[in-house]
Amino acid sequence: MFLYLFKKLAVTIPTFFGVTLVAFIFIRLLPGDPVLLMAGERGISDERHAVLMAEMGFDKPILVQYGYYLADLAHGDFGTSIITKRPVLEEFATLFPATMELSICAMLLAILLGLPAGMIAATKRGTAIDHTVMTTALAGYSMPIFWWGLLLIIFFSGTLGWTPVSGRISLLYYFEPVTGFMLIDSLLSGQEGAFQSALSHLILPTIVLATIPLAVIARQTRSAMLEVLSEDYVRTARAKGLGPQRVIGLHALRNAMIPVITVIGLQVGVLFAGAILTETIFSWPGIGKWMVESIFRRDYSAVQGGLLLIAAIVMLVNLAVDLLYGIINPQIRHTDS
């Protein structure tokens, strides 16, 4: 198992360096620079432009800049935002719990609804239930997130008044963040109604962010289940007289989970991408919106630092998924070892 983990980690490290390079180059490939954008219509003289670029170290050859960047990274320094002048790591740490909280809730919702929906569709193949589940999943997958979010706000918040429009908690509640996770902090605050308020603010963004992963998981579960259900060992289990619940729950599901887990792992990246729009619509103070604004403002430090941190998290999740394979199917672990 340790050898397996070591091998997986060994693959992750060069990927991490690759990401540092891509993140560094990518933002510099975009036309324009932070000084020009900061000056706007007012304009800036070439001399002053050169002075400001030099002050930020952007006048040096790109390889030298990259070298400095790696050296800073080695010391745990992700740089300072050009715009806000705050350390990138500090900004990321402030905003990340909000994205994490929303992503966890969205992933839980997607798994809790997507898995059973896919299983039911597979076991009821060709029926109206199957068609309904698959059509809904296709609709969910194709839905533009921005439109879907606004539709939910207008209906549930505007027309029915059931849910708050946006934000993480009612402005009535005021407490210093402890963990950054609003559900936990609201409980810790001890203020009556704070937890319910935080929960109610999570509902619509969770639904919106979960929509695409939910559809993907449902479709993937269905096709994986269909494949497994046609295997000989499932037929044997049935022939032995096992009940359908035991056949599906014990024999079929476990093997069908391998591709499903792969998809779930990949959906973490999709969630971060979806978070950009969801966070904008619901005024959710997370890293998605922060990254987009940083790109627009050519905040090199924030973009390269943020991308790196996000990539590191996605890689860690995928590493965890790889390890999960081994737990679910020991054969994979032994083969890789």
Binding site: G32, E55, L95, G161, S200
Partner: protein
């Protein structure tokens, strides 16, 4: 089923709680659905209006201020000022008894005085000042208003008198001092933070003399302020002020309708009709302090001929542009300054929309088969909400008079950079939003000879015009300045370095319970003086 009902009841409860915000919070609380996060809380370091809303307009004061809702200069931390006969020395007499905010990190031991004025300006002016480099040390507004070259020295005469010595007479100086970058910081707070080894704290945990003091900021989520009880103009009618950061305009509108906020900026033009019909909302309206234009490159033939430019201007159907692009939230521009600025010359007659006359004039000038480029900005601005669409409409208008137009666009930074080029090919769509309500801020900056190759995108340097605006800079008498600027506008119209297209109309929806909110001509949101029913 019972659980579902309970859940729905809980949601409704939460919403109702929001609706009864004023009753729940201690005192009167106004919620402003702001459009974004501030870059920081030191307005001297940044240029975005969002940052000014969160800092200078609530937390700080300057030596002078603009009367709320107007561009009229009023005394603020300076009670009065004198100007020397040569126009080069401004002596400010400071207000006594003005208190700074008390925070967790700072308890002031003295009132505001000349040391604070010196600290606030010398930090930006003197590269060797201990705070000059703190928090990046870029003072772009200070620099772009030429304060670096304008100021010779700033001298403390006594604790309540400060003298600004200039290198040249500059009539817009007082208006410059009303701008956001010119707010006053506490020198004592700065000293304390420097001693504590955390000088940058003054830029993120602001201490000012303003009507509201910062309580808490959560990036991209919320900014909380409370009224400063010892404010020198008297405590604000509101007890608490909250900025609920809501970047999407449609969501802001939903929040306003739901009573989750009281005031919102930048509504979607498409929502304006619904807002007008809403019984809970007052839709306020004011002409913006801006101008959108098409700047020809007056150094390149045939655009170096004012008659060609005038002929082209006659081909533009501005009314159609206002309807299609601004959806009513704009007015036709005939002058390079908006009507809200003093010295606006209403007697100037705009070029008529007359494609037939335009075509004839071009033919008479020998301009046939003309091909040109129009540059379309890649971003939305109040003075031009959709430059691409505007360029397409201009393309159609020019086609009618036989001019073939190619539309080009670049990334915003590149656009700004390339459009400054003296040999730029084509006419550029751009605009300008006023900083200080002074005509000089429009006419000298974007049409003066100093701006050629920079902010003056028409590369137009016309001596009779230049003489007038340079003279107006050094004349102190407002009536005399008005006369000079009015003359300058007549010359501008005759020479037509631009096609003036539009001034935006700013709409601001506020809930009916909000009392005396006034649209700021500078695009800001000021809450001192605002109350709730």
């Amino acid at each position: 089923m019972r659980k579902t009902k309970n859940l729905i009841a809980a949601f409704c409860g939460a919403t109702l709680l929001l609706a009864s915000m004023n009753a729940g919070a201690a005192g009167k609380t106004l919620v402003f659905c702001s459009e974004g996060s501030p870059e920081g809380f030191n307005p001297a370091l940044y240029t975005a209006g969002t940052t000014f809303d969160a800092s200078s307009r609530q937390v700080f004061n300057g030596l002078v201020k603009f009367e709320r809702g107007t561009t009229k200069i009023m005394p603020a931390l300076a009670e009065s000022w004198d100007l020397s006969p040569d126009g080069k020395e401004y002596t400010f007499h400071l207000r006594k008894g003005v208190k700074f905010h008390t925070t967790k990190k700072f308890t002031p031991t003295r009132d505001f005085n000349a040391d604070d004025v010196l600290f606030s300006f010398m930090r930006q002016f003197d590269p060797n000042h201990p705070f000059h480099k703190i928090s990046g040390g870029n003072y772009e507004y200070f620099n772009s208003m030429s304060m670096q070259t304008l100021i010779k020295d700033i001298v403390k005469v006594d604790d309540y008198t400060v003298k600004f010595i200039l290198n040249r007479p500059e009539a817009p100086m007082i208006a410059n001092l009303g701008m956001d970058f010119a707010v006053i910081f506490s020198a004592e707070y700065a000293d304390n933070m420097m001693k504590a080894g955390t000088p940058e704290v003054i830029d993120f945990e602001p201490v000012g003399t303003g009507p509201f003091q910062l309580v808490m900021y959560q990036k991209d989520a919320v900014i909380r302020y409370k009224a400063f009880p010892d404010y020198w103009e008297g405590k604000a009618p509101l007890d608490n002020l909250i900025f609920a950061i809501t970047p999407d305009a449609s969501v802001r509108y939903q929040k306003l309708k739901a009573g989750e906020c009281h005031v919102m900026p930048y509504p979607n033009p498409a929502d304006l009709e619904a807002m007008k019909q809403d019984p809970d909302i007052n839709l306020l309206k004011k002409e913006g302090l801006n101008v959108g234009f098409l700047a020809y490159n007056t150094r390149i033939p045939p655009f170096d001929n004012p008659k060609v430019r005038k002929a082209l201007n006659m081909a533009i159907n501005k009314e159609s542009i206002i309807k299609a692009i601004f959806q009513g939230a704009g007015t036709v521009a005939k002058n390079p300054i908006p009507p809200t600025i003093w010295s606006y010359n209403d007697a100037v007659v705009d070029d008529p929309y007359d494609p037939v006359a335009s075509k004839k004039a071009l033919e008479k000038l020998g301009v046939t088969d003309l091909e040109m480029k129009i540059w379309a900005m890649p971003v939305q601005r109040p003075y031009n909400p959709n430059a691409r669409r505007m360029a397409e409409m201009l393309q159609a208008d020019f086609a009618e008079v036989g001019v073939k137009v190619e539309i080009v666009s670049y990334e915003w930074g590149e656009y700004l950079k390339r459009s400054k080029d003296l040999n730029r090919d084509g006419a550029v769509l751009l605009g300008w939003t006023g900083d200080n309500g002074d005509p000089d801020n429009f006419l000298a900056v974007i049409l003066g000879c100093d701006g050629v190759g920079s902010a003056n995108r028409s590369q137009w340097c016309y001596q009779p015009f230049e003489d007038l605006i340079q003279k107006a800079k050094i004349v102190a008498d407002p009536a005399e300045r008005t006369k000079l600027y009015k003359e300058a506008q007549v010359i501008f119209k005759a020479q037509a370095p631009w096609a003036t297209i539009a001034h935006s109309v700013v709409y601001q929806p506020v809930r009916k319970e909000v009392i005396d909110f006034r649209i700021d001509p500078f695009g800001g949101n000021i809450f001192y003086g605002v109350d709730l029913k």
